[in-house]
């Protein structure tokens, strides 16, 4: 492949990535960019060129020892549900935008600590970025089969570097508020993560199944190579300890690396995304490691004794077989791995550099009196320059020191340096006593130890591999040998440095923290960090501050960074949140914290505190007082919560009362209506009786036949009256629960037959056929036979009443399932309107509904049926979607079920 061609592919590839960033930045609220998968894949920025190429190198040279770097994260990730969530919450409420902010805020907005953390990060990460550049350069030359150029203008890496620097500084500084989410970058990084995994898997499959004949084949061929067994065992207890420390190291790295903090915490926009990440990310790591071993040993088999750099086997193998497409793919995968690390790291570092080093120590003074526009521009520019110069600096390191270390060694050194932040970082989360001096001492001593046991020997090692300093210790003092400090001789250099530096770091952090108390601010934040869940909603309440401050002064400061509009909006939100009168002129603790938060994203925690302090007069508070206030605020929060609970409860009760009252009113109206209807229904027969009696009384010369007819009318109307009264009383008994149901084992088939017999007379007068399907079925159930007879009687008489007058047909059917027995009564009359399905079971429904032809009946039949069935724990309803006529159905609990209960 020639250089120009590859360069064109590179340009094309970069433009696609940049376009993805551009596209997703525009759609920063769409679900394409805000989903747990993008989040999870963006975390895979962990896998750099070191993973992509370096793991293979390690696996080829020394067997399994590439694994701990992935085992550590996989082991620790399940705890993310608790720890990462906590860190995300703390960072969200405090608008933290970097690990330097995080540590500096916890230890009392410490400016020095923020700067220290920033320095450690830059020292640790910059060579790591150089390493990525080196990998880009090396692999480019392998693919194009060219030699590295010493002229920077003809070196492709130079231009790649500049392109990256421009891209990162453009998309990385879109927002002045560094705690804002950079969807463009994150989506691009996630895409790259997918690509690098896919390309790596492709080459893995290619080597395993196309070059060789599967895992077994590689294993068999590799097993005959020199040292195979030795390289591929863990190697006893000492090596076990080495593994242990490497795992610990990578566990810390997954939390502490600036790029991990950036992707996992700063860019997290939903806590729930963690849930996906905790399975997807480990799965990603496992997949990535699947083919490391076959590629490494495949390379060893193919290139034995040829002296190739084993880091690049994944390129060399396809190239060896003249597979150009695959070679370029692998190259692009590695390129992706490298550039996503470079971009995210440089953004994270530049934010720290500006917010924790340059602004608080440099130009905070000049920011104090400028306009918002100028300030924003200045901050953004400082970050732009930061990103740019960091990448260029990394490039310089790569050019000047011509790193001839393998990818892994530099990567691990970088991990050890960053791990020095672990004690103060995790202390911040779990230990309230940890103090600023403890943190500073721990970090510095830890770093010095690491400097002595790792950085110096490595620096010397660049020129002299057999140095007296390493072999015999300084001035020949054996105990001080950097790789065997105090005679600890069974650990390899990296685990050895991890052990000593972290031991010293932790001990000094703990000892100093216990011996010297921190100031009140630290204690305050200790409380807020460790117990974040308590303060998550109203965290401003947990901030302790005393003194005199005017809202207008603070407002002026805010305006200089946020602008007038946003400041106003923020103030309104604050007043609403805490229910504060907008005319109040003095600021309280909550407002101070609120204002600091607003500034933090722009200029970092330390500078935010400095700026706010400059316009307020703060009174000193003693430590016990802080604790007392915190205790009170805690109590207040609890009392507040109780009050809210009580008030909510009262609201609920009052709501219930209101509902109950409404129900009573409704019932009252219903009762009135019922009485009205009852009166009407009673008056009608009385009217007929009265009229007939009057005629009989006054008129002596009525013909005999007519006289008899009038008397007959009186009798039938009296009966009607009586039936009505019976039914009303019946219904009343059911409704008030006075009516008892006497359950006994009965046969529903026989009950139906008996009822039908009693109705024969009624049917005879009309042209109606009644069909009882399933009359041979024997279905038994527990019920009160007298009552069910009443129900069936009622339903069948209704059916007779509403049947088609010319060709009446009634069909009765019964069915049984596990829970119920079901009786269906269908008639081919004109049917029931759907909106009346429920109303027909109301009392006197037919009388109230003026649109139904008034049939003979009390209007209480179905209401009583419903009561009876419901007292049997059954159901009664009108069936929907009946083609012709109407179907009423009732169910009774099945015999077996009823028996069981």
């Amino acid at each position: 492949m020639n250089s120009i061609g590859l360069l064109l592919i590179l340009v094309l590839y970069l433009s696609i990535l940049f376009y993805i960033a551009y596209w997703s930045e525009k759609r920063s609220h769409s679900k394409w960019t805000n989903n747990p998968y993008i989040y999870s894949f963006s975390l895979a920025v962990y896998c750099t060129a070191w993973t992509y190429y370096g793991s293979i190198g390690v696996a080829a040279e020394s067997g399994l020892s590439y694994l701990p770097i992935y085992l550590g994260p996989i082991l620790i990730i399940p705890t993310w549900m608790i720890i990462l969530k906590k860190i995300i919450r703390i960072s969200r409420v405090n608008k933290i935008s970097s690990i330097a902010d995080f540590i500096s805020l916890r230890y009392g907005n410490s400016r020095f600590l923020g700067a220290l953390v920033t320095t450690i990060c830059i020292v640790g990460i910059l060579p790591y970025i150089s390493l990525q550049l080196k990998s880009i350069s090396d692999t480019f030359h392998i693919v194009t089969k060219t030699q590295a150029s010493s002229n920077i203008f003809t070196d492709t890496t130079t231009y790649v570097c500049i392109a990256l620097a421009l891209f990162a500084s453009y998309y990385g500084t879109k927002y002045v508020d560094a705690s804002e989410k950079r969807r463009g970058i994150v989506t691009a990084v996630a895409m790259e993560s997918i690509l690098k995994l896919v390309f790596f898997l492709i080459v893995g499959i290619y080597v395993t199944y196309f070059v060789f004949d599967g895992f077994d084949d590689i294993y068999q061929k590799a097993a005959v190579l020199k040292d195979f067994d030795k390289k591929n065992t863990i190697g006893g207890i000492t090596n076990g300890i080495n593994w242990f420390f490497l795992c610990i190291l990578s566990m810390f790295a997954i939390f502490l690396l600036p790029r991990q903090f950036q992707t996992a915490i700063v860019e997290n926009n939903k806590e729930t995304h963690i849930r996906t990440a905790i399975w997807l990310f480990p799965l990603y790591l496992l997949l990535f490691n699947l083919f490391v071993f076959p590629i490494a040993w495949g390379g060893n088999i193919l290139f034995e004794g040829k002296g190739h750099n084993s880091d690049t086997y994944s390129l060399l193998i396809p190239q060896f077989f003249d597979n150009n497409v695959l070679t370029v793919m692998v190259f692009l995968g590695g390129f992706s791995a490298a550039i996503s690390m470079i971009i995210v790291s440089s953004i994270a570092l530049a934010t720290m550099l500006s917010n924790n080093l340059l602004i608080p120590y440099g130009f905070i003074g000049s920011l104090e009196n400028s306009s918002q526009k100028k300030n924003s521009k200045r901050i953004v520019n400082s970050r732009k320059i930061g990103i740019f110069s960091l990448i260029i600096l990394a490039y310089a390191i790569y050019r000047i020191f011509i790193l001839d270390y393998s990818l892994v060694s530099i990567g691990l050194v970088s991990f050890v340096v960053i791990a020095q932040l672990a004690p103060s970082f995790f202390g911040a989360l779990f230990w309230k006593r940890g103090s600023k001096y403890g943190a500073v001492t721990g970090i510095i001593l830890g770093f010095l130890t690491c400097f002595y046991t790792l950085l110096i020997p490595y620096a010397i090692g660049i020129t002299k591999s057999t140095s007296l300093f390493i072999q015999e210790g300084p001035w020949g003092i054996e105990l001080l040998k950097p790789f065997q400090l105090f005679g600890l001789d069974y650990l390899e250099p990296i685990p050895h440095a991890v052990f000593w530096s972290l031991l010293i770091n932790i001990l000094s952090y703990a000892a100093v923290s216990v011996s010297f108390k921190g100031n009140y601010r630290e204690r305050n934040y200790a409380e807020m960090f460790v117990d974040i869940d308590k303060y998550i909603t109203n965290h401003e309440n947990a901030f302790v501050w005393k003194g005199t401050a005017y809202i207008s002064d603070i407002q002026k400061v805010l305006q200089r960074f946020l602008g007038e509009e946003r400041t106003k909006r923020a103030l309104t939100i604050f007043n609403l949140k805490y229910n504060i009168d907008k005319d109040i002129t003095t600021a309280d603790a909550r407002f101070i914290k609120f204002a600091e938060n607003l500034l933090t994203g722009h200029i970092g925690t330390a500078s935010a505190k400095i700026l706010i302090s400059s316009v307020v007069k703060e009174d000193k508070i003693s430590l016990p007082e802080v604790l007392r206030i915190l205790e009170e605020s805690k109590e207040n929060i609890i009392i507040n919560k109780k009050l809210t609970d009580t008030s909510n409860e009262l609201k609920k009760i009052s709501e219930q009362l209101k509902n109950a009252n409404q129900e009573l009113v409704n019932k009252d109206i219903q009762k009135d209506e019922f009485l009205d209807t009852v009166t009407h229904e009673l008056r009608t027969p009385i009217t007929a009786i009265r009229a007939a009696s009057e005629i009989l009384h006054d008129d002596d010369d009525i013909p005999e036949e007519l006289r008899k007819q009038f008397l007959q009318n009186i009798i039938s109307e009296s009966d009607r009256l009586n039936r009505l009264i019976d039914k009303i009383l019946d219904l009343e008994k059911f409704e008030t629960g006075k009516q008892k149901i006497y359950l006994s084992k009965n046969n529903i088939t026989r009950t139906i037959k008996n009822t039908l017999d009693s109705l024969q007379q009624l049917v005879k007068n009309k042209k109606i056929t009644i069909e009882f399907k399933d009359a041979s079925k024997e279905i038994k159930a527990f019920y009160d036979e007298e009552r069910i007879v009443q129900v069936i009687h009622n339903l069948v008489s209704n059916a007779i009443k509403f049947c088609s007058e010319t060709d009446g047909k009634i069909v009765i059917s019964i069915a049984e399932n596990k829970d119920n027995i079901e009786v269906k009564i269908h008639n081919n009359g004109k049917g029931i309107k759907k909106e009346d399905f429920e109303a027909i079971f109301d009392k006197f429904y037919q009388s109230r509904n003026q649109n139904v032809k008034k049939p003979i009946g009390s209007g209480l039949g179905l209401a009583i049926c419903k009561q009876i069935i419901e007292h049997h724990k059954g159901k009664i309803w009108a069936e929907d979607n009946v083609v012709e006529g109407a179907t009423l159905i009732f169910t009774l609990p099945n015999y077996n079920t009823a028996e069981n209960s």
């Binding site: 009205d676 009166t679 009407h680 008056r683 009608t684 009217t687 009229a691 005629i695 003026q850 008034k854």
Partner: protein, 120 residues
């Protein structure tokens, strides 16, 4: 001979009224609901209409509204018969233009007197 239309869905009540009015020399027409009444009124012009209020299909109130729309029936006297004896019901009935509102149960004799009074 005066004509009277009795509209009620209770056959026994209708029977008593029919007997009484016939005996008092009225020509009696009978309808079981409002629709039937309106059909009869197409052909007949009674002097008095006795209207039950609660009837299926077209109730008494609706029937009266229809009657009032018909110019031919302007001279008809209308008497409501109803078990609804609340003031608001009576008011509603009279406001629709009925000449009388008689509450059930009622005295047949008195009703005949009232009808006579109305048509004189």
């Amino acid at each position: 001979m005066k004509k009277i239309l009795i509209v009620d869905d209770e056959p026994n009540i209708v029977m008593s009224l029919e007997y009484t009015f016939k005996k008092n020399n009225f020509e009696v027409f009978i309808a079981r609901d409002g629709q039937e009444a309106l059909d009869i009124l197409q052909k007949q012009l009674p002097d008095v209409i006795i209207l039950d209020v609660m009837m299926p299909m077209v109730d008494g109130f609706a029937t009266l509204e229809q009657i009032k729309k018909d110019e031919r029936l302007r001279h008809c006297k209308v008497i409501f018969l109803s078990a609804k004896n609340k003031e608001k019901d009576i008011e509603k009935g009279l406001s629709l233009g009925a000449n009388l509102y008689v509450v059930k149960p009622f005295s047949v004799k008195k009703l005949v007197d009232q009808v006579h009074e109305l048509i004189q």
